[in-house]
Symmetry: C2
Subunit: 519 residues, 2 copies
């Protein structure tokens, strides 16, 4: 259970095969291992080794991939930074994790004036972009060339491989500590379910800072496959890469798949090499499945469900659910049975397991459950009890073990594949002096699946426009978290007997006549 | 990483599906779990729980399978007993492991008069056969019916699940301690390589006391498949079960496959459900592969290699190596690339890793490496260094990561799938007063692959016949270990500079013009 074992296996079974393709940059597995061992050597010289952490703030690239493997090679841990965050949020992740270094890509250099003064522990900035290296930064290729390759430091099993931050349900981000064994257990679950196999080539489309975006790093490496990178999602770039690099497998969120299959000229690309199209974050509408099958008749779908705390995949639903009877019976709306080496159960409010078909909170136990939340022992003890991770998701399990997610206890909105925690947005709105009461809910949106919608009541006699309030949010939190629509109301928000805002009631009028498709 | 997780998953995904078929006895997964939980309750009442051990001396059966799962359910460990051993050998395994109980099947009842007086720790005998329960034994079904089901005790990860004895290279058996994590890691490796999947049904043919015979216990259970048992290998019984129970997958040794395909009327059976035929212990002759393909055109072959100390599978070579180019290029003679989640390397006499293509000792590192040898810390430290299990097998790895086994440093003979350690047989021969010097080697045998052959020099003036010496061995060790042929010679055996008998030289004339097909 060493993350670095994957790269050694790749060298053994496909040493001269292509490891990474990033535009014109191509490296074989033997070259890739050499680069990783050199980068680890460079990191070690900088003191980034043996339990220390480094952040990665980058678009998808081969250098992201190498850093993701070199840090564990040096027995350090990676801290992927969500590139869409506002500077204060990024600073919180880097300071909280006490990261010593930051890998930084070209598009984020402009933020540095704002970000740098807020950083407390980062001493080294390693520039992974192309073109001239900004002042005060180390050049990635230079430090790599100057370093001697080092032996794998031997980190593994319960050693921490990374801290992955999630938006916090109580408004503050929590760092999820994942071990080598966590990530390798997830990998072993993915190999059969996502059909990882020799000769495959994987395209990275969702951002690699999401754990779902990086799920292939170890799995595709283990089988000696090829990793292909596009910097970020853009339909034409994805279609071009699928065709030109003969991509066989990838993962996207339904929003992206929908945009891709509906983009102009999609039918003109040769997508015949594509075998498996995985998706997560929400179920895929049947129409999108049908439309995708028209475009790529041989592709098989896998609907995956998970969360960062479970490394991440809890369940996967394969090809059979997406064709013939499965499609007709809407079996694809389930996120499938539990992965091979973990357990799931659904519990009621008293912690008792419920019967099949009954909705309750989904709990997961097994080697995929995180080490805990970084420096938050109380929140860890609350989330993981007796080895069972309490997901916060409402779900039921049918008689064949198929899991259906029906609600999120944690009150999360998934908008275009991004998780938005209502509490975090509400806390931001409450900081505006005019706001006396607010609730943030997900409402249906044709493009994003769900849209962040706020319902706001103002102090008597105060006034603020929708635009003013949105602009206010943009100064404090990432753009994707900010409300895209605001409803002002004068009467108090509806409360439960226990005094909690009845979100279900607020949501209901928006969802009338629609499935609430949450995952 | 709980062995018992497999049975819970089976209940969740296929609760009403068939778990076990043993002649007329059939149980669904929900019934099977209930029986396992009750048997664990009965064991707990007898004190066989929480780290204690129990032996299993039985032909293949559903009860063997249940005991194999119920012992870990009670946080105890199983000690499978090789049914072909002589009574003193069985007693050694049971006494050494300090087993408190013995599950015993009908064919072994006759040995009890001999065995029982030699046992030091076994207090309970649990009869798993049919018909009347012998005096002084508990009836399996009775204790199960009378017990209350108990909750899974929660053993997992590095807790010991079993002690599996191997013949010792220095003549004495060693108990290999395997943990829950060991066996579950092996299972996760097998799922993709052996294509374990929902809807499969597995036939147990080699004895379950071999770790290879029980490799399917957790894997087929995890996917909710069906386990079908025949008591022991017999061509017609196997062919009948394959047809009548619509078996999809099984593992045999090449000797068995050869006997089956050559048995009279083999072509009259409907074997069309068979998908994957795995084999181990030795490579399969190309003729046997071709003959098997004639009989079962759609079956795919997997050549597996491993040892008890590695839980057991180190590498697997799949279907591609057994057809078309793979067959032509004899790629099937390789035992394949390393399993997914472990590492292999080949080292020279100084412990240095050698280049591809160079023969040396094969070493394995990863979660499949045993906890150690039971009560033998020195031998454990000798075998496992820095996490690397030193297999004792001579091998080379090619540029595509394919492993070829060329010699066994541990001097082992594989005869009809049974491991015979030369040293053990030699030690036995040396106990005869007439023997001054001897060497035991494997020589080619049409039926058994290899045959146990002894080369013996007698004390001057002494005489003993081949038959007398064979009979002498039969009183001390299992029949399958006894020499099947003996060559008497008068000149001293050839020695190396270091004074070791030159076995290679003794073996050479027998193997002239033949591949030494060892695995």
């Amino acid at each position: 259970m060493h993350l670095t074992q994957a790269i050694k296996r790749a060298c053994q079974v496909n040493g001269n095969g292509l490891a990474t393709i990033n535009g014109d940059r191509r490296h074989t597995w033997l070259e890739c291992r050499d680069r990783v061992a050199k980068l680890a050597g460079a990191l070690r010289k900088l003191g980034i080794c043996d339990g220390e952490r480094a952040g990665i703030l980058s678009l998808n690239s081969d250098r992201y991939f190498e850093a993701y493997l070199a840090l564990p090679w040096a027995a350090a841990a990676f801290v992927p930074i969500n590139g869409r965050l506002a500077a204060p949020e990024m600073a919180y992740w880097l300071n909280d994790s006490e990261s010593l270094a930051l890998f930084i890509d070209q598009p984020f250099v402009g933020m540095m004036d704002d970000l740098k003064p807020q950083l407390e522990t980062v001493k080294h900035f390693i520039y992974v972009g192309d073109g001239e290296t900004p002042d005060g930064m180390l050049n990635y290729e230079e430090i790599l060339t100057q370093a001697d390759p080092v032996e794998d430091a031997g980190a593994g099993y319960n050693d921490m491989a990374g801290i992955l931050y999630t938006g916090g349900t109580t408004g503050k981000s929590k760092g999820v500590m994942l071990s080598h064994a966590n990530l390798m257990s997830n990998t072993m679950n993915c190999i059969p379910a996502l059909n990882f196999r020799p000769g495959m080539s994987w395209l990275y489309v969702p951002p690699m800072f999401h754990i779902a975006g990086s799920v292939a790093v170890t799995g595709v490496t283990m089988v000696g496959g090829t990793h292909v990178f596009v910097p970020a999602f853009e339909p034409t770039a994805v279609l071009t890469a699928l065709q030109d690099e003969k991509i066989t497998d990838l993962l996207m969120v339904p929003t992206m798949i929908n945009m891709m299959v509906n983009s102009e000229g999609a039918g003109d690309y040769d997508l015949s090499n594509l075998k498996t199209l995985s998706y997560g974050a929400s179920p895929m509408p049947a129409d999108v499945i049908r439309k995708t099958v028209e475009l790529i008749p041989d592709a098989e779908f896998v609907h995956a469900y998970g969360q960062t705390e479970t490394s991440p995949l809890i369940s996967m639903n394969g090809a059979d659910a997406h064709r013939g009877e499965g499609l007709k019976n809407e079996l694809f709306k389930s996120c499938g049975p539990v992965v091979m080496n973990s357990e799931v159960k659904v519990i009621d409010e008293n912690g008792q397991e419920v019967a099949n078909g009954t909705v309750g909170e989904l709990c997961v136990r097994g080697p995929i459950v995180m080490l805990g939340y970084w420096k938050l022992p109380e929140q860890t003890a609350e989330a993981v009890r007796d080895g069972w991770m309490h997901t916060g998701d409402g779900a039921f399990i049918d008689d064949e073990g198929y899991i259906y997610i029906v609600d999120r206890t944690k009150d999360m909105i998934i908008s275009g594949g991004e998780n938005v925690y209502s509490a975090e947005v509400e806390n931001t709105l409450y900081q505006h002096p005019a706001v006396i009461e607010c609730a943030v809910v997900g409402v249906p949106d044709d493009k994003w699946g769900e849209r962040v919608h706020a319902i706001v009541r103002l102090h008597e006699g105060q006034a603020v426009s929708e635009k003013e309030l949105m602009d206010f949010c943009h100064t404090l939190i990432a753009g994707f978290k900010c409300p895209r629509s605001i409803l002002f109301r004068e009467e108090p928000l509806p409360l439960s007997g226990a005094g909690k805002i009845l979100k279900r009631e607020l949501r209901a009028p928006y969802w009338e006549g629609q499935d609430k498709q949450v995952h």
